[in-house]
Amino acid sequence: MNKQANKRTAGLGFILRLSWRNIWRNRGRSLSLMTAIFLGLVGGTFAMAMITGFMGQRFYNAIEKQYSHLQLHSKTWLDEGQAGMMLPHGTQLEDSLRQLPAVKLLSARSLAQGLVASPTLTQGAEVRGVNPEAENQLVALSQQLIAGHYFSDSAENQLLLGAKLAKKLKLEVGSRLVLSFPNAEQEIVSAAFRVQGLFRTANAGFDQSTVYVQKHQLDALLREAQPVYELAIRLHELDSVPAFTAQLQAAYPQLSVRSWRELAPELAYMQDSGSVVSYIFVFIILLGLSFGILNSMLMAVYERMREIGMLKALGMTKSRIFIMIMVETLCMALLAALAGLAAGGVLVAITSRTGINLGAYADALAEFGYDAELYPELSASYALNITLLVIVLSLLAALYPALKALKLNAADAIRS
């Protein structure tokens, strides 16, 4: 048994040494191939980190600044969206949910579908009545202001307007406008508001169709006593959202309880498939590089026909020749790939601190829910997965040249 094992490992040191030196035999060719792998991995790593950063940012913006983890509505509001279709016993529900240990933050909102009228133009919009403090805690609304101020204690009717909507209606901070919407008795009520601030979220569609007012002012116009149309909740743990949503839905079957996955299905899809997409991206780069590896190793084998034949004649078994070609390929690919991963990692580490300013494309990015400042990020498993991918692809690429080497007839190769 021991003798068998010794026989198998005999000469392994020699094979490894020969493989390593063979890499540097044609320095120019090896270095150009390694440079291609290195640059491919730097580019791939950075591109993947950008994609991950974009996705993370999109997710963060959507969850932390817009949807929260889950929302409760009355089913009729979702179907028809009319005034009066609020959550039954909304304030009691709000209080009892606030007591639950899993709940971190909660904001009760009044909603109304109405019209925003400037002196020259009118536009449809959703009016969101919010408690300034609770809303700010939940979605950091004050941080999303690009002009003016957040709600103050003044008794005046104040309003926060999406920057896109303001531009469309030709309004600015301090402008006055009129909000009109139906109240619970289905009578159209109108009230004048002063633009207190302009906000810009990462969702251009939201900015174009939303105004924020203080909840008590909207409630007074709706002529309802503390109605709650929407309860937005953030839990302590994102992972506990599915179970908590299911629990809540079971406890309140007459209500609509929707997690962020249902509120923003495109976000859920992105979350589920996002890393796969970026791995496919890197895989395509590596696949291209593996043809370079195949070509390079094939040339190396053809150049060394006589030598490989001689090794076979002198007693190097097929398996050892196979290992020699594989190790040579693997060393070259892994060395370049690890250097590329390291350089890409450093690039990501630097830019994840400084951020990448994409201000020139801010408007276009906002249309898709992205910020103008991008912070690339990489998952911890990335390096491991890519290393495994490089190992598998380079071994596959080396397979054909290695099999070519094995088929050599020793006697013919020596005389070739």
Partner: protein, 228 residues
């Protein structure tokens, strides 16, 4: 004395389209330990084919090749490779050293593949390099050695693992006269000192002059077998 190498009714036939070419016909040979044998004959007489059979690089169409009691014509490809590793030394016309290894490493690697202990490999490599007059060139790579020195390294490589016999295919063909004489003297000395069996395929009269036995092949058959 038991022969180190023996053939029995060795035939090798190649097919060239519909025509069968008889490269070797009914070769019966016995090579004894310590012989310094050359196989001569005109081009196409079957020298290389016979050497391939005797070296386990090719298998006969019919007949047997016995090496130290083993019928190598019955071995499969992997068994043959293993057999060559442990029993046969080779010297080729074109030196065939590995350019990325030093002279010492070129001499050592067969022993490495045999799985011998590192200390033994190092000592034996130094010993055979000294025997071929290259004790001080062990750290040089082939490109740093002359043609004659490279062929000496190849001879040292063939001898290092103490094979049953050494097959040398036109070893002096690429060497100038003086270098060829020196190499042949070295091989002859090793033949006499270490009782190493050498079997050459050659046209070179200098080799033939030193041989203790000359086998002449004509049209794949042994035309004469002369002992001196």
């Amino acid at each position: 004395m038991t022969p180190v190498l023996q053939t029995q009714n060795l035939h090798k036939t190649y097919s060239e389209g519909p025509v069968a070419v008889h490269a070797l016909r009914n070769i019966n040979l016995e090579i004894h330990p310590g012989e310094f044998t050359v196989i001569v004959g005109p081009s196409g007489s079957g020298k290389t084919t016979l050497l391939n059979m005797l070296g386990g690089l090719d298998t006969p169409s019919t007949g047997k090749v016995w090496v130290a009691g083993t019928d190598i014509s019955e071995l499969n490809e992997n068994q043959l490779i293993d057999f060559r590793l442990h029993h046969i030394g080779f010297v080729f016309q074109a030196y065939n050293l590995i350019p990325v290894l030093t002279a010492e490493e070129n001499v050592s690697f067969i022993m490495d593949l045999q799985g011998r202990p590192a200390a033994e490999i190092k000592a034996r490599a130094a010993e055979v390099l000294a025997e071929v007059g290259l004790a001080d060139r062990g750290k040089n790579r082939p490109a740093e050695l002359s043609g004659g020195q490279q062929q000496r390294v190849a001879v040292a490589r063939a001898l290092a693992s103490r094979p049953q016999y050494v097959l040398a295919d036109e070893p002096t063909a690429n060497l100038d006269s003086q270098t060829a004489f020196n190499l042949l003297d070295t091989m002859k000395r090793l033949n006499e000192d270490e009782k190493m069996t050498f079997l050459f395929s050659t046209h070179d009269q200098r080799v033939i002059d030193r041989a203790t036995r000359v086998i002449t092949l004509v049209d794949g058959e042994i035309a004469s077998d002369e002992r001196r």
